[in-house]
Every structure is written in C-alpha cells, then in structure tokens.
Symmetry: C2
Subunit: 259 residues, 2 copies
Amino acid sequence: MRITIIGSGNVATHLAAAFKNAGHRLVQVYSQDIQNAALLAYHMKARPIDDLQQIDPETDLFVISIKDDAIVAVVKQLAGYKKLTVHTSGATDLAELAELIPEAGVFYPLQTFSKTKEVDFWSVPLCIEGVDETTTRDLEELARTISNNVYRISSAQRKTLHLAAVFACNFPNYLYDVARRLLQENKMGFELLRPLILETAQKVQDALPNAVQTGPAVRNDEITMTAHLQMLAGQPDLKILYELLSQGIIKNKNAEHAG
Amino acid sequence: MRITIIGSGNVATHLAAAFKNAGHRLVQVYSQDIQNAALLAYHMKARPIDDLQQIDPETDLFVISIKDDAIVAVVKQLAGYKKLTVHTSGATDLAELAELIPEAGVFYPLQTFSKTKEVDFWSVPLCIEGVDETTTRDLEELARTISNNVYRISSAQRKTLHLAAVFACNFPNYLYDVARRLLQENKMGFELLRPLILETAQKVQDALPNAVQTGPAVRNDEITMTAHLQMLAGQPDLKILYELLSQGIIKNKNAEHAG
C-alpha cells in the first residue's frame, strides 16, 4: 500500500516503521516542523513536507497521527483527495472524520511509545474501526500486515479503552515515581524496586490481576497499614492515596468473597 | 551452610529453593501444617516438622519466614539454640529479634512471589541487616551465593522500602484490576491491556519513571481529563482516584519545571 503519514510524534514514528518493515511504501511524511518531518521521512525513504498544499495525491491511505484537537482541521484539508483516511487517536470519535470524508476509519495502537525505545509491533494491539464493513475489512487486512493482535473496537469502546489505559499505564508509572521519591528521601536508589515492578507486570501476563493481588490491604493486615499511614503523616496527598487504594483492594476482595 | 526454614509460604518456598540450588543443605522445614512442611521439605530433601520441640540443633541458620505477628513467639522458642537467626519480613524491626537472640539478622528479599511462578533469584534484591558487623558480613556472604543484588539496609530504611513496594507493586496491580473491570463493563477482554502493562514496567528498567510519564495529565490535556471524569460519573471512588492521581502527575511536572 502507498501510505502518507501526517505527524511525526511517537505513534507516527513507530507506525511508519512497522508499515515500512511490512513492505508498504511511505509516500510523504508531514509535520509542521520540517526538521521533524525530514528525520522520520529519511528513515522511511519518504518525502518530508511541512505544508498540506504539497500533498501528493498518488497515495492510498492518509494516517493522521497528531494532537486530538488538530485532527479535524487537517482532515478538512485532506477531504478533497477522497482517499481512505484514518486517525490513530484513542479519544476521538470516528464520526468526526466520517462527517468530512467518505472512507474514514480508526487505527489505534494500544501501546506506550518512546522514540528512543524499540517496540515489537507484532504484539501491539491494533484497534480498528471503519465507517462501513468494506472499510473495516480493508483496515483489518492492513493491520494484520504489522500486528498479530487486531481487534474491532467501536468508538464508544475505544473511549473506555483509552480511559482504562490511563489506569493501567499512566497511573502505575506515577506510583513508581511515588515509590522512587520515598526511597530517595531515605537514601535508597530506584534500582531496588525495578525487579519488583517488572515481576508485578509479568504476573498479569498469564493471570488476572485480582487473582494475584498481594500486600497488606488484601491480607487485611491492619497493623502494617496503620504503620504505613503513620509514615505518610507528613505527606497528606500520599496518605489519602494510600487509604483510597487500600480501601479499593479490600472492597474488591470482599466483593469476590460475597460473589 | 546448614539451614533450617521456619515457614512454608511463598517467601520460604522461593528462598529454600535458591539456597538448595546454591548447594546449601536444608536441614528441616517447619510449618504448623505438616502437609505444607512435607511438600516443601520433600523438594528440598529436608525433614518436615510441625512442632518446634522437634528442632534439630545441628544447623547453622534459622530462617524465619512466617506472618509478622508470629515471629516473636517463634524466636522465643528458638533462642535457646543460640544460632544465627534471621527473619525475612519487610516490616519487622531487627530489634525484635536482637532482644531475644545474640546473633540476629534480617534477610529480606524484595520481590513478589507466587508459588506457581518461578523467579530468577539472581536478580532479586536481598536486603541484609545484622546486629553487628560480623553477623552482617556473614549474611552478606550467604546472600551473595543466591543473588547478584545484595544491599545493606537498616530497619528504618527497610520500613520505607516496604511502604515503597506497596506503591510500586500492590497498588499498580490494583489499578490493573480497575482497568480490567472498565473493559469488562464494555465487553472487552483484559488481554488488550497486557502488552501496555508490560511495556510500562519495562520502560522504567532503564529510565526513571518521571522521565517517561505519559498520558493526559502530564500533557495537561484538560479536554481528555474532563471526558474521562464524565465517564466515571457513576463510579465516585474511581473518579476521586482519577483526580488524585492526575493532580499528583501535574504537581510532579510543575515541580520539575520549577526546579
């Protein structure tokens, strides 16, 4: 397929590389910043542009991977080419594209990407949605050339998925940082916690998290929880967080026993 | 070394296996439940006992790996043998042992263990503390026969470490479960999130968590955060949790920029 990439951020970069590796042809890479466009385009043997007036109409697919609030303005400029057009956003409804373009879809990779860290794209869940069955099938076919985990996900489901990803990725990362700071205050390094963090994530690769919950809350170990809350007395935000999360764990456990 | 294991839980099981693999001799395994003692003792070629009166004094080390509130009672029964005695608890002060026994120490493995999942013990951080320099060195030497990550950690530091581990392990696992339930309510499976969870933990193996924070809060993407809070309107506990964690991320970011 001939593919044009609109954007040069983390998602655009990893998607472009996956398409290239699968043998697709990258036509152009657009970015407001020509240097960013050039950097990605160079690796993809595509042409960099920083002006949507320079779009090459000889393409099969526009992949729009830019900030959510900029998507509609770009789609308006691309609508005239009447090509298959997808966005990669977790939070943007397909309807926002479908209003402007007949062949519209979503191509949402559910992963956290950094430009400096390679990702095995074959394992990345790709969430696909199309305006009609034909578009959906075309996108599924394309998705299967770069990932083994392709799912049909509606716009409503995708919004929930995006929210769930915040709980499963962004918030745990913040808690890693809370732990890091607690250690730092007591002259210990973050490396002490790295094996524990990795094992915690590895455990739920085969099991469900409620089945492998550990710690004082699930044991209802009130002595330890009281001691921990005392240690957090000087950090009221963390104290409330500890209480809230522990209460959640206890509630979960009681619900399971009742159920 | 000749080692006697008091306890047959997850920590006792993994520690015993690591000692055995390193060529140490397991003398006896004690558990209140003789079947549990027998199961572990069988694999370790040790003798199972369910009565501390049956302790074989021909041992070099007692490893006490039982519930925190049962440790002191057991130590009282072992004190007469005057052997090197350690506990494996994150939350119990060394002083509680040292009051009762001259050669006392702590041997705390910072990892989450399940009986059914093997762990590469060489990567497990082992936190060591002894009543004096000789005891500490003996324990360090022993620790290095089973782990490449041996640390001297005081009782005060260990308490912080235990608290930090709750934030780095138990709470993230609970958040995985929150995400699982959000998906389940919308007919999606947890497998969608597994690659994301693993990558989030893998990212901080080389980087620090504050350097790789992603998501709407760190971007200050108020539109997405407002949408997420609206989706959680029917689940007030999760709504408060979302607000608290997002505020924490924003506060962290502002502190970095100020600093």
